[in-house]
């Protein structure tokens, strides 16, 4: 999959083409030396635990062995028992967590994309006060998710400011649809600005000539947005949405703190797995972890295959826009 450094590049509208170092035998050896520590660490902290989870998901909990009547100190091998359990008896809780996770991901990422793009368009138009906006927009990103959970728990308190503003008496952080709403609001607040930043970076590399040409041809603002802006920021937007989806699929901190553990209406797959693990039920916990991993993997694969999201930025679409952000 190695690409030659300067093959068939499209003429670059933004800046001269960038050259890279050349391949040589020595470079290969040096690269191996420089890259292997990172790969080694990632093998130990990511690959090895993943394989362990796979193995662990085939074992049951310690305790009374129904076959012999003895208390066993080791975990019995149960084969695919944990998975059968998940799709059978424990199914209700699993499917609920699965739908919560999916629902949160679709709704939050959808809202964030709309709000984020709107923010980016505003910031792109504003010349005075751009520094202020950029500083402001980084604040939600910098607030730890756990703290933002507490903050919104306070805002959504029954005597809190949300109810005061709405003139309602909603018990936001108790079970029910309103708990989902609270989680979505808090999540969107924290992450829409992030999408805004990424899209803004994409907007800034669109040459102004393109817009002027379109304006001269008589294209109205809405048409210019749909036919010029959106297609040109698509690569940046796709990467942003992909990253946000992956992040939303593993959502844990926010519902855990904002509403609480083992709450039916907001329990996500991460919370379910963590809850089982903290109750020393490592077998089922691992099975949940494996399922979540596969789910995330499939979504990421679909993104890259179907939508052509270019992660590494080595593709043509990615390379075309190699300019530093000049906000």
């Amino acid at each position: 999959m190695t690409e030659a450094p300067a093959q068939s590049e499209a003429p670059t509208p933004a800046g001269p083409p960038v050259r890279r170092g050349r391949a040589s035998a020595g470079a290969g050896r040096l690269a191996a030396l420089l890259v292997s520590p990172t790969l080694l660490v990632l093998t130990v902290v990511v690959l090895y635990p993943t394989l362990m989870a796979l193995k662990e998901s085939l074992y049951g909990a310690k305790g009374l062995d129904p076959a012999t009547g003895f208390i066993s100190d080791t975990e019995p091998f149960v084969g695919l028992g944990n998975y059968a359990e998940i799709f059978g008896d424990a199914g209700a809780r699993f499917w609920n967590a699965f739908w919560n996770t999916t629902f949160f991901t679709v709704v939050t990422v959808g809202l964030e994309t709309v709000i984020g793009v709107a923010m980016a368009l505003i910031m792109h138009k504003a010349f005075k006060g751009r520094g202020l906006v950029r500083a402001g927009i980084l604040v939600p990103w910098a607030v730890p998710t756990a703290i933002s959970g507490l903050l919104w728990r306070w805002i959504f308190n029954s005597d809190g400011v949300a109810n005061a503003l709405l003139g309602q008496q909603i018990l936001w952080t108790t079970e029910g649809v309103h708990a989902k709403v609270a989680v979505i609001v808090a999540e969107v607040w924290k992450t829409a600005p992030f999408i805004g930043l990424l899209v803004l970076a994409g907007l800034q590399v669109i040459p102004t000539e393109v817009y002027e040409a379109a304006r001269m041809d008589g294209a109205r603002a809405a048409r210019r947005f749909w036919h010029i802006t959106l297609p040109l920021v698509k690569p940046a937007l796709l990467v942003a949405v992909l990253f946000r989806c992956m992040d939303a699929l593993r959502m844990f901190d926010l519902p855990y703190i904002l509403v609480g553990a083992q709450k039916h209406s907001v329990e996500t797959l991460s919370m379910l797995a963590q809850n089982e693990a903290s109750n020393v039920r490592f077998g089922p916990a691992s099975a949940y972890a494996v399922i979540l991993f596969l789910y995330v993997f499939l979504i990421a694969l679909a993104f890259v295959r179907l939508l052509g999201a270019d992660l590494v930025g080595g593709g043509r679409a990615g390379r075309r826009r190699r300019t530093e952000v000049t906000a």
Partner: protein, 278 residues
């Protein structure tokens, strides 16, 4: 007529700017305001606390809460994670940006892919492993899993920074008789210092904000990091959630980050958007 529409448009843009800033800052402002109220006024909805009170901040640093210790734990875990990730990532990112070798794209894709990994998938097996080998309630039990997201993040950011530096600098140094190693040490690293620094900030913030790992790997209050400690703050009675001191602690945990972000905003934005706008 045109000037009028231009004026209108300008006005609209600034209304938009105000809306964006308000959206981003209002909840944060509410945290700040609430933290400065007296316990008795905590349910006030006035925009400015009156009278101003630092009662909540005193409550946070009450030795019984152990919050100072939690801040120290956060600093140790996030600090060591950042340093380790940065050292490893600098070498790897240099190879990714500067050398041509087989399988480069595949390796970079794999490294980035690990950053999308659900953390809980490694927390569950590691929790079992660490329980078995007695690592629970240690710094290393939090640092090791944190590397799983810190290292890919650092590699990705640094690769972009190294790529932006012109090849000629290094070639000139090598023509002047430097080895590749010397060129790296004496030319690339000093010039990449701002990029390395930005990456350090972004990585540190990610590690500082971590919650799931710290929650799972500790059960002794003395070893909890700040994010976990705050979520477990208790009030005078069990029925009363100490919102005031939670907000005060939240402000204390967030303000260092916000200050860093404000000081280095230009660089951080460049770092965060590096992937999207290459």
């Amino acid at each position: 007529m045109t000037t009028l529409t231009a004026k209108w448009r300008g006005g609209l843009v600034y209304a938009g700017v105000v809306a964006v800033v308000a959206y981003c800052l209002a909840p944060f402002y509410w945290m700040l305001v609430s933290s400065l109220r007296r316990t008795g006024d905590i349910f006030d909805t006035s925009l400015v606390p009156s009278p101003l009170s630092f009662e909540n901040y005193r409550a946070v640093f009450d030795p019984a809460q152990g919050f100072g210790r939690a801040l120290f734990n956060s600093l140790v875990v996030a600090g060591i994670t950042t340093v380790l990730a940065l050292v490893l990532a600098t070498f790897t990112a240099y190879a990714m940006a500067r050398l041509e070798f087989r399988g480069k794209r595949l390796i970079l894709t794999l490294i980035i892919a690990t950053s999308m990994f659900p953390v809980v998938s490694i927390v569950v097996p590691l929790l079992k492993l660490f329980t078995d080998i007695g690592w629970i309630n240690t710094y290393r039990s939090m640092i090791v899993p944190s590397m799983s997201f810190a290292l890919p993040l650092a590699v990705w950011n640094l690769t972009t920074f190294f790529r932006q530096m012109p090849d000629e600098l290094e070639h000139a140094a090598m023509v002047d008789g430097c080895t590749r190693g010397q060129a790296f040490r004496k030319v690339i690293v000093p010039l990449a210092a701002p990029g390395i620094f930005t990456t350090a900030i972004i990585t540190f913030i990610a590690a500082w904000n971590e919650f799931l790992i710290a929650l799972s790997m500790t059960n002794r209050p003395g070893m909890q990091t700040a994010t976990v400690a705050i979520s477990k703050f208790t009030g005078a009675t069990t029925y009363e959630t100490p919102f005031g001191s939670q907000m005060a602690a939240g402000v204390l945990v967030t303000v260092p980050l916000v200050v860093m972000v404000l000081l280095f905003q230009r660089r951080i934005v460049a770092g965060l958007t590096a992937g999207a706008a290459k």
